[in-house]
Amino acid sequence: MSVNEIIEHALKGEILPRSVQIFGPEIALCLTILALLFVRMFEIHRRLPTNLVALLGALIAFLGVFSQFMYVKGGSEIPAMMALFQAWGLTPEGVGEVGPYFTGLLVHDQFSVFFRLGLCLFLVLMIALTVLSGIPDSEDGQDFYTLLIGSSVGMMLACGANHLLTLFLAVEMMSVPSYAMVAFQKGRRQASEAALKYVIYGAGAAGVMLYGLSLVAGVLGTASMPELAAQVSTAFAGGSFVLTNPVAVTLALGILMVLAGLAFKLSLVPFHFWCPDAFEGAAAEVGGFLSVASKAGAFALLVRFCIALTGNPDPSLAGLNLSLGIGLGVAAAVTATFGNLAAYSQKNMKRLLAYSTIAHAGYMLMAVSALVIIRGANPSGVPGLTSAGLDAEARRCLEALLYYLAVYLFMNLGAFAIVALIRNQIFSEEIEDYRGLAGEAPVLCVCMLICLFSLVGLPPLGGFWAKLEIFASLFQAGRVHWFMWVVLGIAAVNTVFSLFYYMRVLKSMFLTERPVGARSALVPFRSAPGLYVVMVSVPVLLLGVLAGPLSQTANNVARILLR
């Protein structure tokens, strides 16, 4: 769909109401940004604290996405939700219908709603956390929340990206505010250094990615993602996808560059170097935001991009699918291993969590690689699996990713939140200084324990179920190509190794005595921070014990997406 067609459609006015309806929550967020700016402009932030405004805006957006989600999931017939549906003006033709909107730049489906819901929820929790931890003071709160919300809007765009342009825009919208957020603690040398590294690295990666996008779009003659696969098979009709073909080389180079850009956002090895520095330099809250939300957005983009490339069952593309899948698998295995190993010797908690983030990106990428492998499989070539079976397995891979992200949202946010809250008490983020905290702030420590064990992947916590789903999809992908079994083995070994460094934190907290003279950190259960961490940790537990509903939802989402 070319731009002039798009303009024509928009002017006809048929799609615009639907698009606005779907885009409602994002619009609400944009309005919140405006409101924040106005609050400052009119100097009323003494009476109306900015964080409240931001929280309110985020809540409104969350409710919007939530109502969309419920509408999509259960139809218009849920009595309890009727008021919400009406408030957001949801109609069967609008939100109820799956398909592209904004003239095909974005797409509306369960997948994007699911991600947006997660992102909004995260935004709400994040703002709540900043309220508790008070990282932006009242002077620059507006700026911080503006950046935060702006970045979130970019991520929400990423979820629905249906066009290479939106893909790039989303990446930039996610990134640019986050550069600033990393640098937000203006006086800190570390923060500015981290931000400088992040922005330069990020800008470089964006450039490479853009160049890749230009090649892909140019070679295939379209920038609309649903058409990519078809264009690929047209371009290589008859011939096969080999490197003696210059077009193929160009395309491969382009794809590689796009993936490199995404890999930067996902902090995959070898594009991960910014991650520990940025996390250490930035406040813990920002770290949490970067490690969860921007990962979610980037994974949404990655999945969209990979699906766009692999949907076509043309046998000439089997090679492309396979090498893409295996390449992702290698990257995933290397990333997970690297993250876990490098995390061993960290002394700073945020840095440790940064490496843990890298490792987890590796685990999640495994699901994507399994997805690509299974989607590229020839049904007759896999013993014991029919075409329908393959579809089910592909759904399972995506389900694994979605589940993992959902759990990851809570467990990683929990971990960063606790780091932030502890920092507020003892003014340190060194693991060394966590010694014996369990005696003083048992709530924080127990919740930390839940989050970290969930990150290890121990039952009955959510992380276990998520990891199990990843393992299961890898196992099934291994039947298509044995290499996935190798990845599975690496993942399993990594799980064991990862225990060490998480354990070091817990050991410090629980097994040692609080040194004499150390700052005390009294966070009782019945305080707002205490309740907050419990609130974040309980879902981790629940998602492990009652995995059914979310797993079912994720599977449905996957079914619609892969249809």
Partner: protein, 98 residues
Amino acid sequence: MNAYLAVAAVLFVCGVMCMATKRNGIGVLMGVELVLNGANINFVAFSKYGLLGLDGQIFSLFVIVLAAAEAAVALAIALNFYNNHLTIDVDQASELKN
């Protein structure tokens, strides 16, 4: 078309080299701009001679705007770094390691 693409490729390579070798933060950012412009040339070339149509043009327009925004933010951060470190030599930015 191939000529345009070649120019773009040269720009890209120059940009990457610039990013990799410049000690000055601003210089690195300039390298990024080169890379982005290389891509822009690609888009426009594909738009004109390839099948991409108007999409390419619009793509490059967006990129230009975005590049400006990004550069603004990057420069602000570089300024911040200068305030804190009194240099913008990126090699001095090595406090963050373990």
